[in-house]
Each structure stands twice: as structure tokens, then as C-alpha cells.
């Protein structure tokens, strides 16, 4: 397919400008630096998000008990160390927002799309370095606004990460729906702009800047995943932006898009004719594709890591691409499964049940293809590989319960219970986080020219893996017992008293798992400066990024960009001495490229 010769125009790009500290480390337009900026910012946001979850987990396990940690971190929101009910709701809200958007969307996609797209397709940089820089700094700004929103007088946004109006629209309904929610909406609007700039850049780069020989059917699956993710983002994020803008109008300018017939605190409000259900539609039109915006890059990373470390071609390349496309398409027509009992027409519920359960098919194909890739491999169990295998495991466990939640009839009784919490944390939260960890361990040498410590990596993986199951597996059962999520305490329901010990166990697992992320943080930051120096291609991988010099130069390759002669998965190919054949190695005489 298409190959582009105009890359020469970029060849001497790097030699024109003299780089200062500011242009190199702060307002950098180099995709590798921007990737690192995304990684560090995402990691910091991740620490905040996880810390919040540990705090509200302690409240759930030991309700209304004084806690020094609360007193120290929550200040006036924890008088005498007892967590306030309002801040509990704020913590779950901001935890969800930060983890879904700031860590697993920007932190994951932002880091690895930026790092890998130009390097793996053989481009000097992104199509627009300037837009790319803008995208990062808008993300940074939105993070700052989100953090600032934590400190407003009446409290941060506390209406759940789904911010359903009227709760999110009326300061009378909840303190957090005042300035806190305004800042939340502003932050998200900036975030969406950032995400769109990034996505457009990724799409254009993948379409236009592939090196000679890099046809679409030779793209590594990472790039396919990032490419399709960017397309889903461009389709669905603007809808959330419109929802946010309409909500801002309702809140501040007296319109009634989402509000009608409201009597609160002794007065009738003027709103008439709007519908909260409309907001739910707009929100979930992004909200569901968002799950795949989070998950697909993780699956892309996993495909690459599993193939490399199995020393085997990924099984069913075409099926993998087809299932990414199928998931992307289906993801835009399943949003209603979040709304079976929202009051929308039950017939719509039937339609959404049908489309939702269909999505299990491409997902199953992916899972089986990963397992088959392992079969008769020569598995190099590096930390990245462990996290990838872990991802497949949690993706299966979490995904399977989707056939219960996607079934409208069954959803009636488990909707908004802990069953849902367990399901989506495993299938998108933990899975995507594992994908991110796998990516970090795998491409750390590319990013920082050094290796991460593998033993710390092993400890990190095994403790995390056990704790993730320890937290989320029992959670299914308290959900099936009917325990609603987002309850500050269950002590007003003696009905659930026999679940309190389960909640303590879950919290203990969460605390241990959370604490062991320190091992990762230590490994990450220590290795940036003092890690062992890497060789050029430490994992003996086929993709183009490993043909670039260790020393990071603007423009990625000295001299000409390598040409591509084969797909990315010629591992252990018969007829070659080595068990890997990089993409830039020409076919031997008489060697045939696999028809894929």
C-alpha cells in the first residue's frame, strides 16, 4: 500500500534549531519527550487516584472510625478523623474521574501513542509537533484545574463520575455541585480538547507518515489499536463536550436541557421541559466507547508484548485487527446498557441487550488468540510479559460477568450494586492498568535508555495480581447480595451486616496492593536515573523502534528511515538462525512473506 517519500523533507529537521532547556524539556515538540511528560503526569494523577480509593475503602471497612490518615489528608472534611459523608462521595467521584480520564486515557494513550506511533511506523515525528505539544499542555492544565477543584470551599464534585443531573446541576442538592462541579466541567472541557488534538494527530500520522513498505497490513497491532482508539475518541468525545456545555448552560444560564419540575429545599425551580435521561444518553455515548478507549491501547500493547516474549507470531493477526474494528464499531451502539432501568422505553433495552452481547464475540476471539499465541511458545517471562498475561486473565474474569450485566433482565437486580463495581474494575480498570504497566516495563529502555529492575518488577506483579483478585473477586458476591455501591456506610442496613467482614477483607487486599505500588514507583523513578544501561534491542523485538539508536535524537533515525519488508511478527520463522527477524530486514531469496 502507500509509502511516502516525502520523509526526506524532515531528514535534517533536528539540525536546524538549537535546543534550550525550555524547548527540550518543557515546551517540547518531540514526541518522545511528550510521551515522557504524559507518563509522569499520568503517574502522579494515578497516585492521587489510588490514594483516594484507599481512603474510601477504609471508610467502607471501618465505617465512621477515626483515622489519622483522614485527619492528615482531609482536614476539615474529617473532623476528629472521621470521614464526612460529603467528602466520601467526592472521593469516589474524583477517583473515578482521575482513573478513567487522566490515568487510563491520557496517561496510557498519551504516553504510548505518542511514543510508539512515529517510532513503529517509521516517521520522524508526529504529523504536527506543535498540536502535540498543545495537546499535552492542555492535558496538564486540565489536571491542574481538577486538582484545584479539590480545594474549593464547598467541596469538590461529588455526584459520581457520571455526574448525572439534577444532582450535579443544583448546588442546593449537594455542596459539591457548586464551584467544585464548575471546575470539574471546565477541567473536562479542556481535557476533551486535549484528547481531540491528540487523536487527530495520531490518525493523520498513521495514515500519512508510514515509511516505505509499511502497509496497513504490516502495522504492528499496537498501532492498529492506537489508530482505532483515536478514531473512537474523535467520534465520541465531542458528544461529552456537548453534554458538558449544555450542563454548564443549565447550571449557569438558566436553560432547561436536562432539568424539569424540581422542588428542592422548599422552593420550586424554574426549570421545565428538560430531561435528565437525555444527559444519560449523551454521557454514555461517550462513556461506553470510553471503556474501549481505555482498553484497546492496553490490548494493543499486550499483543506486542505477548508476541515478542512468546517468540512467536501473534496468532490470527487478521482476526485481531478485525476484532479491534468490530469492537470499535459495536462500542458506539451499546451505550444504552448503562440505562436499562433509567426509564427509557423497554424496547430500547432489548435492542441494547442484543448489541451488547454481540461485543462478547470479538472479545472472545481476542482472548483465545492470546492463549493460542502462548501455546508452544518459548515464553520469556519478563515483568512486561507477566502483566500481559495478567491482563488476559483479568480481561476474561471481568469480561465474562459482562454477559450478566449486558442482559437487561439480569441487570434489574445487580444494576448499581458492587457487582458492577467488580465487573468494570476488572475488565477495564485492572486490565488497562496492567496494559499500562506492561507498556512501561517493555518500553522503559526506549524512553529512558535504562532498564527497570526485573526483580522489583516480579514482586510488583505478583503482589498486584493477588491483591487485584482479592479485592474484586469477593466484590461480585456482595453485589449479588444486593449491596448498593456509593453508600457511605452500610450500618443503617442490618440486612447487610453479614457482609461487613467481606468488606474488611477487600480493604485489606486493597491496602496491601496499594502499598506495593510504591515498589513500582521506586523502580520507575530510581531506574530513570540509576537503572542499568540498556542495549539497543533488549527484548530482541521486530518492530522498528528498536532499530533507532539508544541515544534519543530529534527525528528518531540518523540518516534514512528504515524501509519495511515484512510484518512485525516474524518470530522463530523457519529458515532464520535468530528467533526474530526485524521488519527492516529484506526477504531472503526465495523467502515468502506470510499471507496475512
Amino acid at each position: 500500500m502507500s509509502a511516502h517519500e516525502d520523509t526526506h523533507a524532515h531528514d535534517d529537521h533536528g539540525h536546524h534549531h538549537k535546543e534550550t532547556f525550555v524547548t527540550k524539556y518543557i515546551f517540547s515538540q518531540d514526541h518522545k519527550m511528550i510521551a515522557r511528560q504524559y507518563l509522569i503526569t499520568g503517574t502522579i494523577m494515578g497516585v492521587i487516584g489510588v490514594l483516594m480509593s484507599l481512603m474510601f475503602r477504609m471508610q467502607i471497612a471501618w465505617p465512621e472510625q477515626p483515622n489519622v490518615l483522614f485527619e492528615a489528608l482531609l482536614g476539615k472534611w474529617a473532623p476528629d478523623g472521621v470521614m464526612d459523608a460529603d467528602i466520601y462521595l467526592a472521593l469516589i467521584t474524583i477517583h473515578g474521574t482521575i482513573m478513567v480520564f487522566f490515568v487510563l486515557t491520557a496517561g496510557l494513550s498519551g504516553t504510548f501513542s505518542n511514543l510508539l506511533i512515529p517510532l513503529q511506523i517509521g516517521a520522524r515525528d508526529m504529523a504536527s509537533g506543535f498540536l502535540n505539544m498543545l495537546s499535552y499542555w492542555m492535558f496538564f492544565l486540565s489536571s491542574v484545574v481538577m486538582i484545584i477543584s479539590l480545594f474549593v470551599e464547598a467541596g469538590p464534585a461529588a455526584a459520581g463520575w457520571t455526574i448525572y443531573p439534577p444532582l450535579s446541576a443544583l448546588p442546593l442538592a449537594q455542596g459539591g455541585s457548586g464551584a467544585g462541579m464548575t471546575l470539574w466541567l471546565v477541567s473536562m472541557a479542556i481535557f476533551i480538547a486535549s484528547s481531540l488534538l491528540g487523536s487527530l494527530n495520531y490518525i493523520v500520522t498513521v495514515i500519512n507518515l508510514r515509511t516505505k513498505g509499511m502497509s496497513m497490513t504490516r502495522l504492528p497491532l499496537t498501532i492498529w489499536a492506537f489508530f482505532i482508539t483515536a478514531i473512537i475518541g474523535v467520534i465520541s468525545f465531542p458528544v461529552l463536550l456537548s453534554a458538558a456545555l449544555l450542563l454548564i448552560m443549565d447550571r449557569s444560564f438558566g436553560t432547561s436541557f436536562f432539568l424539569s419540575d424540581i422542588f428542592i429545599q422548599g422552593e420550586v425551580l424554574h426549570y421545565q421541559g428538560g430531561s435528565p435521561v437525555l444527559f444519560e444518553h449523551l454521557f454514555w455515548f461517550l462513556g461506553h466507547p470510553e471503556v474501549y478507549i481505555v482498553l484497546l491501547p492496553a490490548l494493543g500493547i499486550t499483543s506486542e508484548v505477548i508476541a515478542t516474549n512468546s517468540r512467536k507470531p501473534i496468532f490470527g493477526y487478521r482476526a485481531m485487527v478485525a476484532s479491534i474494528l468490530a469492537i470499535a464499531f459495536l462500542s458506539t451502539i451499546v451505550w444504552g446498557h448503562h440505562m436499562f432501568i433509567s426509564g427509557m422505553n423497554p424496547f430500547l433495552g432489548s435492542v441494547f441487550t442484543f448489541t451488547t452481547l454481540l461485543i462478547a464475540i470479538p472479545s472472545a476471539v481476542k482472548a483465545f488468540n492470546y492463549i493460542t499465541t502462548l501455546w508452544k511458545g518459548n515464553l520469556q517471562l519478563n515483568p512486561a510479559m507477566l502483566f500481559s498475561i495478567g491482563l488476559v486473565s483479568t480481561f476474561i474474569t471481568g469480561g465474562l460477568t459482562g454477559i450478566i450485566l449486558g442482559d437487561s433482565a439480569l441487570d434489574i437486580n445487580v444494576h448499581d450494586t458492587y457487582f458492577v463495581v467488580a465487573h468494570f474494575h476488572l475488565v477495564m480498570g485492572i486490565s488497562a492498568l496492567y496494559g499500562m504497566f506492561a507498556g512501561i516495563y517493555h518500553w522503559f529502555p526506549k524512553m529512558f535508555k535504562r532498564m527497570m529492575n526485573k526483580n522489583l518488577g516480579y514482586v510488583h506483579f505478583w503482589v498486584t495480581a493477588i491483591c487485584a483478585y482479592g479485592v474484586f473477586f469477593p466484590m461480585h458476591f456482595i453485589g449479588m447480595a444486593g449491596l448498593p455501591r456509593r453508600y457511605y456506610t452500610n450500618s443503617n442496613f442490618p440486612l447487610f451486616d453479614d457482609l461487613s467482614n467481606v468488606n474488611v477483607i477487600i480493604t485489606l487486599f486493597a491496602l496491601v496492593g496499594g502499598a506495593f505500588q510504591l515498589v513500582f514507583l521506586w523502580n520507575l523513578f530510581y531506574s530513570i536515573f540509576y537503572g542499568k544501561k540498556t542495549v539497543q534491542n533488549p527484548w530482541r523485538s521486530n518492530t522498528l523502534e528498536w532499530t533507532a539508536p539508544i541515544k534519543q535524537i530529534h527525528g528518531n533515525w540518523e540518516g534514512e528511515i528504515p524501509h519495511v519488508y515484512r510484518w512485525a511478527y516474524d518470530y522463530s520463522k523457519p529458515g532464520h538462525d535468530d528467533d526474530f527477524v526485524p521488519q527492516n530486514v529484506p526477504l531472503k531469496e526465495g523467502e515468502e512473506e506470510l499471507q496475512h
Binding site: 419540575d261 488476559v392 433482565a409 483478585y469 440486612l495
Partner: protein, 355 residues
């Protein structure tokens, strides 16, 4: 105090691991330390993969044995409940089988094919037959589940007015529930939050001029006659709420500005449910936990907890603000006679107004 101790323990664990890793590293100082997995790493982690598979199986078994009887399976108290529970059980069985097999394959392969120097992997890139198999099997299983699920869903959501259901309004506000019975005419009077007049005790905004409204009855407890279909009409006056009645497998959101509905037929009275062996056991268990809790409270000089007795509940299951966690209403299912006696005692709307 607990928290402090927890944190201390965690810190110690962290330090211990850190030291262990340091020892690991020192032991390897002379070896070819590239931070890439060696055969030994592959072996160790391969066995750990098997161990992890065992861990997944064990946690599954423990959860089912210890908490598998907590789920509200097989104790539903509504007509459509058993059908829904059946679908749940079928789905769970399918999930259980697929989970057991795929996790086994994944972790066993990770163990079996752990890398060794000099071995070459099989170059196996594609097989249409295999892929067709694992596309078609899910298609068939899911087709079955979808069809079964849709039948169940449609039968639950279609309320037949010919069955003469008892019409009851569930009215949600931060942070409590009210029920409004339609009275002798079984037709709810018109209502809108704009008509709320607190001074006259018209708290639900009922249209005082509507003849259908005159015999409506507003209560703070939900009484339902056993065996008669009920059609709930839901309203909310402020934010979204969700009327969740887990024992009846019933839930529907309450949305300001619109009326939503859900219907079911209660089949087991509160008294009967309290007498079922499962419920007796569950309540006894809960009470033993509460006695333990109470002893701790008394030691601290606080009041003991009340004894728990089973009641059906209506819970709020959509985040609605600060006291979301305490928004509930008692539901009492009783015989037709008991229900009639109870409803007669209640004031009808026209008599409840303050003039």
C-alpha cells in the same frame, strides 16, 4: 488506631520486600545482569503461574462456599423472580465453565512453555478452522442467552392492565420515600411538584381539584397484598433516585419531570419469608454479629444495637446526595385482609389537608 497499625504493618512489609530484592540483586551481582528474564526467572515465574492458577480456583471456591448463599438467589419474593434467578444461574454456570477452562489454558501454557535457551517456538501464525470454532461457539451460546434474556425482560416489563394491578406511586425526595395509593378508584390523582403546598400539607404536589386525587392515600410504609399485581408509578421531586427492591428483583429510576413505572406480583408475605429456614439462619447469623458488635459498644459505654428482624426493603440505588446511604422504606407484604385493614386506617388525601 487500627489504621495506624495497618499503616505500620504495610511499611514493615514494604521494607522487608525492599531488603529481599536487594539481596536478590546482590546475589546476582556477578551474573550477567541485563535485567532481561533468564531461564531461572522463567522457571520461577512459570511455577508461580501455576500457583496463581491455584489461587484463582481457591478464591473462587472460597467465595462460593462462604458467600455463595448470601446472594439473593432462590429466595425471590415475586412472581417473575424465579425466572430471572434461573437465567442468572444459567449465566453463572456458563461463566464458571468458561472461566475455569480459559484460566487453566492461559496459566498452564504460561507454565508449560516457559522459555529455555536454545529452544525455538513453533511458527504458528494462523488457523482458520480454530478461529471459526471460537467465533461460532460464542455466537451460539450468546444467541441462546440473548433470546432467553429478551423473553424474560419483555415478560417483566410488560404490565398487563387487564390483571387489574394495584396502582401505587413511589415518590422520592432527598432522602426519604413516600408511597401514594390510588384509593378505591385505583386511579392516581394528577400531581406536579409545582402544586406542592407545605403549609397545607400537600407534600407531593397533588392536584386538589382532581376528583381522582380525593381518595389517594399517602404513607411512609409500603404495604402490599400478597398475590396481587402491583404497578408502581415512580416520581422524584429533586434529583435522580432509584427504587431498588432486591427481594422482588425490581428496580427502576425515579426521574424528576417524568413518571417511570415497574410492575410485579409479590408472592411471599413478610411473615412467611421470616419463617423460611434460609432466612432464619441468615437472621441468626446477622444477630450473632450484632451481639458481638454490641458488646464492643457497651464496653465503650455506648448503646447496644437493636436486634435485627427481617423486613423487605426499598433502597435508593442512585447516588442522590449526602444521605444517599440512608434512604430506605420498609415494605410489608401481607394477606389481602390485613392489607385492607391497614389501608382503612390511613387518612385519605382530602382529609389530610390543612385548611
Amino acid at each position: 488506631m487500627t489504621a495506624l497499625l495497618t499503616i505500620l504493618v504495610l511499611v514493615f512489609i514494604t521494607v522487608a520486600i525492599w531488603q529481599m530484592v536487594k539481596i536478590f540483586d546482590l546475589a546476582q551481582a556477578n551474573a550477567d545482569n541485563t535485567q532481561v528474564a533468564t531461564d531461572k526467572d522463567n522457571r520461577v515465574n512459570g511455577y508461580l503461574m501455576l500457583g496463581f492458577l491455584a489461587f484463582i480456583y481457591i478464591i473462587t471456591i472460597v467465595c462460593f462456599v462462604k458467600w455463595g448463599d448470601l446472594p439473593l438467589i432462590s429466595n425471590s419474593a415475586s412472581e417473575h423472580g424465579p425466572g430471572l434467578d434461573n437465567l442468572m444461574i444459567i449465566s453463572m454456570v456458563i461463566i464458571f465453565i468458561v472461566q475455569t477452562i480459559t484460566q487453566f489454558l492461559l496459566h498452564y501454557f504460561a507454565f508449560k512453555y516457559k522459555g529455555e535457551k536454545g529452544r525455538k517456538a513453533l511458527f504458528f501464525a494462523d488457523n482458520n478452522m480454530l478461529e471459526a470454532i471460537w467465533t461460532i461457539i460464542p455466537v451460539i451460546v450468546l444467541a441462546g442467552l440473548i433470546i432467553y434474556g429478551l423473553f424474560t425482560w419483555n415478560s417483566i416489563m410488560n404490565v398487563d392492565m387487564d390483571d387489574d394491578p394495584l396502582v401505587v406511586e413511589l415518590y422520592a425526595q432527598q432522602f426519604n420515600w413516600k408511597a401514594r395509593y390510588a384509593g378505591d378508584d385505583n386511579v392516581l390523582g394528577k400531581a406536579n411538584v409545582r402544586l406542592i403546598d407545605i403549609d397545607r400539607a400537600n407534600i407531593l404536589g397533588i392536584d386538589e381539584s382532581d376528583p381522582n386525587a380525593q381518595d389517594d392515600v399517602i404513607t411512609t410504609e409500603l404495604h402490599l397484598p400478597v398475590g396481587r399485581p402491583v404497578l408502581f408509578k415512580m416520581r422524584s421531586q429533586d434529583v435522580l433516585h432509584s427504587a431498588y427492591m432486591p427481594h422482588f428483583r425490581a428496580q427502576m429510576n425515579c426521574v424528576p419531570g417524568m413518571i417511570t413505572q415497574f410492575g410485579f406480583t409479590p408472592t411471599v408475605t413478610t411473615a412467611e419469608m421470616r419463617q423460611t429456614p434460609e432466612m432464619i439462619e441468615k437472621v441468626a447469623n446477622i444477630n450473632s454479629i450484632r451481639v458481638e458488635e454490641s458488646n464492643k459498644l457497651i464496653a465503650k459505654g455506648e448503646d447496644a444495637l437493636e436486634r435485627y428482624e427481617f423486613d423487605y426493603l426499598l433502597l435508593c440505588n442512585k447516588i442522590c446526595g449526602k444521605s444517599h446511604y440512608n434512604m430506605q422504606m420498609k415494605i410489608i407484604v401481607e394477606s389481602q385482609e390485613e392489607y385492607e385493614a391497614w389501608i382503612k386506617e390511613q387518612k385519605v388525601f382530602k382529609n389530610s389537608l390543612i385548611n
